[in-house]
């Protein structure tokens, strides 16, 4: 099924290659504006490092938020909610796959293509504009390990939110809530080090930092040179969260699907 979905997604991308190429061309502009903004701040205050981030690390932090949207961010909850709202849920429920399997396969095929066609060219653009002199091979590999786990974790979180639509009919508020929570607790809109100490402590207890902050701190090397043993321990903790979300997703699905009432399409 994954191969078929991959082929399907690939055909869609090739069909709409114009928009894809156009958005690729606009990314250097975004990176340049980020670079100019922080260059202005660093040069005005004559700083070499700001809260542990060099200029290039800071620019890459904000640049990496694009990688988050390519590889981790998903619209699974919105897809489920829209299907319920527009009467298209029935066809999914009669397929020989569970909703969870179908959505995961669709997501993985999309993300694999994003990795090949979006992340690599944009990464090359970013490297050309702002050379990542801080990056190590180990940090690079650890980033992808954590990002892979983050894809699974975020998928399960979104799936649980989407299931609310089976009960309430419209779960678009969950989609907005997800956006706010991820921006706040995962560090997507601002490095966590800028937040008050109490909030930083709260964030380390919650599972959201595994989605963006942790992978990026390994990529940028801001957490210091992390040996593989320490990285694997962190990955183990993230796996525990993933397991908990998986159990909750399965439990919620069996409970929520009983509340679903088809109204046709």
């Amino acid at each position: 099924m994954l191969t078929q979905l991959l082929g399907h997604q690939l055909r869609i991308r090739l069909e709409y290659r114009g928009s894809f190429l156009f958005s690729l061309l606009l990314h250097p502009l975004v990176m340049l504006l980020t670079l100019w903004m922080f260059q202005g701040i660093y040069s005005h205050h004559q700083l070499d490092s700001l809260l542990g981030y060099s200029l290039h690390q800071m620019v890459w932090y904000f640049g990496a938020s694009h990688f988050f949207y390519y590889l981790v961010w998903n619209m699974v909850d919105k897809n489920i909610s829209d299907r319920v709202l527009h009467g298209r849920m029935d066809q999914i429920l009669v397929r020989p796959y569970s909703l969870l399997t179908w959505e995961l396969a669709a997501l993985l095929s999309e993300k694999l293509l994003s990795l090949a066609f979006e992340l690599i060219p944009v990464w090359a653009f970013f490297t050309w504009i702002c050379p990542p002199d801080f990056m190590t091979v180990r940090g690079f590999c650890q980033y992808f390990l954590f990002t892979g786990l983050a894809v699974l974790q975020f998928f399960l979180m979104s799936f649980c939110l989407g299931l609310l639509a089976l009960r309430s009919g419209d779960a678009s508020s969950a989609n907005v809530l997800k956006f706010v929570v991820v921006n706040l607790f995962a560090g997507v809109s601002l490095p966590i080090v800028f937040l008050p100490a109490a909030l930083q402590q709260l964030i380390t207890v919650l599972p959201f930092h595994y989605l963006f902050h942790t992978p990026v701190s390994y990529l940028l090397g801001t957490a210091g040179p992390q040996p593989w043993a320490a990285a694997l321990r962190t990955a183990g903790k993230q796996c525990v969260w993933i397991g908990a979300f998986l159990v909750f997703a399965r439990f919620s699905y069996t409970r929520s699907v009983r509340h679903f009432q088809s109204v046709g399409g």
Binding site: Y16, Q39, L50, V180, N183
Partner: protein, 261 residues
């Protein structure tokens, strides 16, 4: 213009009725939108404090900047927050043809149907915040400053609408917009910093080439009595961009080929 405003109000009414069909979701989503605005502003202030301030901006002035920004983002979200999704869905599913059958021009029909009722709370919060901070500014405020602020604000909304017109025109041509909407959102993000924070070419870019300074920077500067002649360049470029955007839309409209629906 009158027809546009009437259609806009009608769309807001319909969206409100539809949203109230799911009352709990409506209140929850409005509250989250409001909360998000506050969080976003708090983040901006934390960034401001973290980077030891932006050149020429005191903490109190930054608060006014943030209140103006909330009012601006709330306003454009209320008026055009659903437009990008509307044009995407209409074109992808082949429903765009019906826009040609409606009594008003396609551009008026399109721009008046992209409202987002959930942003109402954000507009109110921005208004309250701006008025409170203006009262605090007190004697420093002049009528000319207020009028200039209103002019920049409206021009900023106008320029944002022009960007959306370009986006919509591109959708007619490209059909599926992929990441272009994210790029548009990222451009809005760059408007949420005072232009003085940018370095060399970046400052020229946000003031003139892509005058996003009109969104919050120039209105706040006008309120602080610091509007400069350079603002006229931003205004002129916004006007040129708007004319070019409408011309681009007309061209795309003529080249549009229906794929059925």
């Amino acid at each position: 213009m009158r027809a546009f405003l009437e259609l806009l109000c009608l769309d807001l009414q319909i969206k409100l009725k539809r949203a109230l069909a799911f009352r709990r979701n409506f209140w929850l989503r409005s509250s989250i939108a409001l909360f998000h605005s506050f969080i976003f502003s708090t983040f901006q202030l934390l960034l401001y404090a973290g980077v030891h301030g932006y050149p020429g901006w005191s903490p109190e002035q930054m608060l006014l900047f943030q209140a103006t920004l909330i009012l601006w983002t709330g306003s454009v979200d209320l008026l055009f927050g659903g437009l990008a999704e509307l044009i995407d869905v209409e074109v992808v599913y082949g429903n765009f043809d019906r826009f040609f059958l409606w009594p008003r021009s396609t551009l008026v029909s399109l721009l008046s149907r992209g409202t987002n009722i959930y942003a109402l709370g954000t507009v109110l919060a921005g208004l309250v915040g701006s008025v409170a901070l203006l009262l605090r500014l007190g004697p420093g405020l002049s009528v000319a400053g207020l009028l200039l602020c209103a002019l920049f604000f409206v021009s900023g909304v106008w320029f944002y609408a022009a960007l959306l017109v370009v986006y919509s025109g591109l959708t007619l041509f490209l059909v599926k917009m992929a990441r272009l909407r994210e790029v548009l959102e990222r451009i809005v993000f760059f408007g949420s910093f005072p232009s003085d924070a940018y370095f060399g070419p970046g400052k020229s870019a946000v003031l003139t080439v892509l005058p996003i300074a009109l969104w919050a920077y120039w209105p706040t500067q006008a309120l602080l009595g610091r509007a400069r002649l350079l603002a006229c360049e931003s205004l002129a470029l916004a006007a040129v961009c708007s004319i070019a955007a409408v011309a681009f839309w007309r061209r795309q409209e003529c080249a549009y080929t229906s794929a059925g629906g």
